[in-house]
């Protein structure tokens, strides 16, 4: 598999850092938000904060679909897992996230619910085929990266005439969240964004043009290797220095201007916009999430079960002290949370940010805690 070693090369990294050192204006601070949790993890995992000039601050964004899922939706998933005959298929990350009363899919599984970890939507379809006498529900979570596969398996299920496969859709959209961050986000102004790499592969770099134009902040799409991120930061610095606000793409080996048209067409065929959706930390955001179209209602868990009782009403559903919400907005850092590492650890997580492999708190705890600058 290419693209690992090439994008971790020491000499290339040093060259970018040299440019950064030369081009950052010592008289100002640069505050960039890495929107995607995957970028937060990469930044900590490769120890990049130590290497950046001291006047560049990275602010963690809400691009962690597990983290922004409100507890009420997870309560619904746990309910579904406990329904007779159901096999709930879920991505691994969701299994340990605490829902209301610290219940988890893991605990439900230990108590006898059939919870199966899958790596992809296709796996859950396979489970449905292999278990015709069971009802298989796929707990679909994710931004635009994982949405096309979900749409794809729903269509396949219809084409194959499967009668025991349903999807519980919790797919959310990136640009509405970006807008909310810019409208109500960190009290300290952001100078630019590192755009999510894999989302951009699907939606295309042009998708960010409206936001960038309206809010006049640069956005550079980056890959997930250390050189990708460093290069993207350099590109942001250059834009800021030049008073420009453009959409630029560092991740050209994967993302294009128009993105994956076929994937988006598939999404559009199977899914439609929800009027509103609750996001942990960001509140109710209109037109920010997707549900299954009525034509595919046979595959919609929300059509088969009445899940209205789990409707997200309160945004402040996190435990006292848990700063997940503010961390997701970029207002706080994990070390600002009073529970961090004292009460809230990966073994005993209070909030989703500590569980998810894309959560800021998990990233900081796993890689950054006690070392380096932040």
């Amino acid at each position: 598999m290419k693209y690992i070693e090439e994008f971790r090369r020491n000499d290339a990294g040093k060259a970018i850092l040299k440019n950064l050192a030369a081009e950052t204006d010592p008289g100002r601070t640069y505050r960039f938000m890495e929107f995607c949790g995957g970028h937060t993890h990469a930044i900590y995992r490769y120890g990049l904060l130590d290497l950046l000039p001291g006047n560049i601050e990275m602010v963690h964004g809400p691009g962690c679909p597990v983290c922004v899922l409100p507890k009420s939706r997870l309560d619904a998933a746990i309910f579904l897992a406990k329904e007779p005959g159901v096999i709930l298929c879920t991505y691994g990350d969701m299994i340990r996230v605490p829902a209301t009363s610290r219940d988890t899919l893991y605990k439900a599984k230990a108590a006898g619910a059939d919870v199966a970890m899958v790596y992809s939507a296709l796996d859950s379809l396979a489970v449905a085929r292999e278990n015709p006498d069971r009802t298989v529900v796929f707990f679909a979570v994710g931004f635009e990266t994982t949405t096309p596969p979900t749409a794809s398996v729903i269509r396949r299920a219809r084409d194959e005439g499967l009668r025991n496969f349903l999807v519980f859709s919790n797919h959310v959209l990136t640009t509405p969240a970006l807008k909310i961050i810019l409208d109500t986000g960190p009290s300290v102004a952001l100078n630019g964004f590192i755009g999510p790499g894999h989302v951009s592969t699907v939606i295309g770099s042009d998708a960010y043009l409206p936001v960038v134009k309206e809010y006049r902040r640069p956005l550079v799409i980056a890959g997930f290797e250390p050189l990708d991120i460093l290069q993207a930061v350099l590109m942001l610095v250059r834009q800021v220095n030049g008073n420009r606000f453009d959409v630029e793409n560092e991740y050209t080996r994967s993302a294009t201007r128009e993105g994956n048209v076929k994937a988006r067409a598939l999404m559009d065929e199977v899914l439609e916009m929800r009027d509103t959706f609750g996001w942990r930390g960001l509140g109710l955001i209109p037109r920010s999430a997707l549900k299954i179209r009525p034509t595919y209602a046979a595959f919609d868990a929300e059509a088969r079960w009445d899940l209205a009782v789990f409707d997200h009403r309160e945004c402040e559903d996190d435990e006292k002290g848990c700063a997940c919400g503010e961390i997701l907005q970029g207002r706080k850092k994990p070390k600002d949370c009073p529970l961090f590492a004292r009460v809230c650890t990966p073994e005993n997580p209070v909030g989703a940010c500590m569980v998810s492999s894309e959560g800021a708190c998990a990233a900081y705890y796993l890689y950054g805690y006690g070392v380096g600058r932040k």
Binding site: A116, V127, V141, P226, T345, E358, Y365, L366, G368, G372
Partner: protein, 331 residues
């Protein structure tokens, strides 16, 4: 397997004779006593036990039988001891295919024969269907420390060098390749191997090894955190120097796993004084099981006992204890 095979009667005796004793045959086991009697050379005795519950039972590069023999031999070896004898206890589930048992037993016989360490006593039990996951194996090993070594996880000292015998993550990835719902093609096989020959070669170079351990479940990261905590020291690793196969790295990246936490079954970590490091490395490199050996870091003062790592680009990260099982990325 049927319950009658574990009842203590004729059926069980036939199974033991026809399968276990025949495969493992040695003067002690052939006597068919309930125990093995032997003298030991002068020195300090080492004893260790381990139980093996790996799933699936058969994976690229080996099976539970290989692990059961090599794993216990390695726990003896990393004390600086020469393994002498093994025991093997089996808990079999009713309905477990005899042909699978035979295959496992043959693996154990081969591993034991290659290592030159006989399985001299054992036990067999059978439990009802549903009460055991096919087969569980326990092995106990005894060995003798003849050299003047003092190897213990609490003996690492600031300034010491940390050596690793070869590439990490091979076994964990090979096992994952065989699990349900996680199928992918890979050329990676388990690195299961008995390390006592390598250890003997290392001890010829120097007996001043402070700490030594074979990183199994939880990977290299867990082993180093254990040693750091038990010795009350910190560790600083060099990411660039840690050997890892391209294919293992690729699979880990694909699945969102950190190779530092992926299981190994044929590797060891050794910690020695800085001045002994080059000599130890040379001795390891000459041995087939140590050809990719490397010095991967050093021990430092740290009251918090952190394991830190200088990343390939020169940044720093911490290498935390493993929490739960490694979970894959979501998108």
């Amino acid at each position: 397997m049927e319950l009658v095979h574990g009842s203590g009667g004729r059926a069980m005796a036939d199974l033991i004779d026809g399968l276990f004793v025949k495969a493992f045959s040695n003067p002690w086991l052939d006597k068919r006593n309930d125990q093995a009697c032997f003298s030991v050379p002068a020195g300090r005795l080492v004893m260790t036990t381990d139980s093996f519950v790996v799933s699936p039972l058969f994976f690229p590069g080996g099976d539970i039988g290989d692990l059961a023999v090599n794993g216990t031999l390695n726990d003896v070896a990393v004390a600086g001891a020469r393994p002498l004898y093994l025991s093997a206890g089996f808990i079999l589930e009713e309905g477990f295919p005899l042909k699978d048992l035979k295959r496992i037993v043959e693996s154990m016989a081969a591993a034991s024969g290659n290592a030159g360490v006989p399985i001299v006593t054992g036990d067999t039990k059978v439990v009802e269907r549903g009460k055991g996951d096919g087969v569980f194996i326990n092995t106990t090993g005894v060995g003798i420390i003849e050299a003047d070594v003092d190897i213990s996880a609490d003996r690492a000292q600031p300034g010491d060098a940390i050596l690793l015998s070869g590439s990490i993550g091979d076994h964990g990835v090979a096992v994952m390749a065989s699990r349900n719902h996680l199928k992918f093609e890979t050329a990676i096989t388990s690195d299961t191997a008995a390390l006592h020959g390598l250890v003997a070669a290392m001890l010829s170079a120097t007996t001043r090894i402070h700490a030594m351990r074979d990183p199994t479940r939880g990977g290299l990261a867990t082993t180093l955190n254990e040693i750091a905590e038990q010795s009350g020291v910190g560790i600083l690793l060099d990411e660039d120097r840690i050997p890892i196969k391209k294919e293992v790295l690729a699979v880990c990246e694909l699945l969102g796993l950190d190779p530092l936490y992926v299981a190994n079954e044929g590797k060891l970590v050794a910690i020695c004084a800085a001045e002994d490091a080059e000599g130890l490395l040379a001795a390891m490199s000459k041995h087939p099981l140590g050809k990719d050996a490397a010095i991967i870091g050093k021990v430092v003062e740290d009251p918090r006992s952190y394991v830190q790592m200088r990343t390939a680009l020169g940044g720093k990260r911490i290498v935390q204890w493993l929490t739960g099982e490694q979970l894959p990325r979501i998108c």
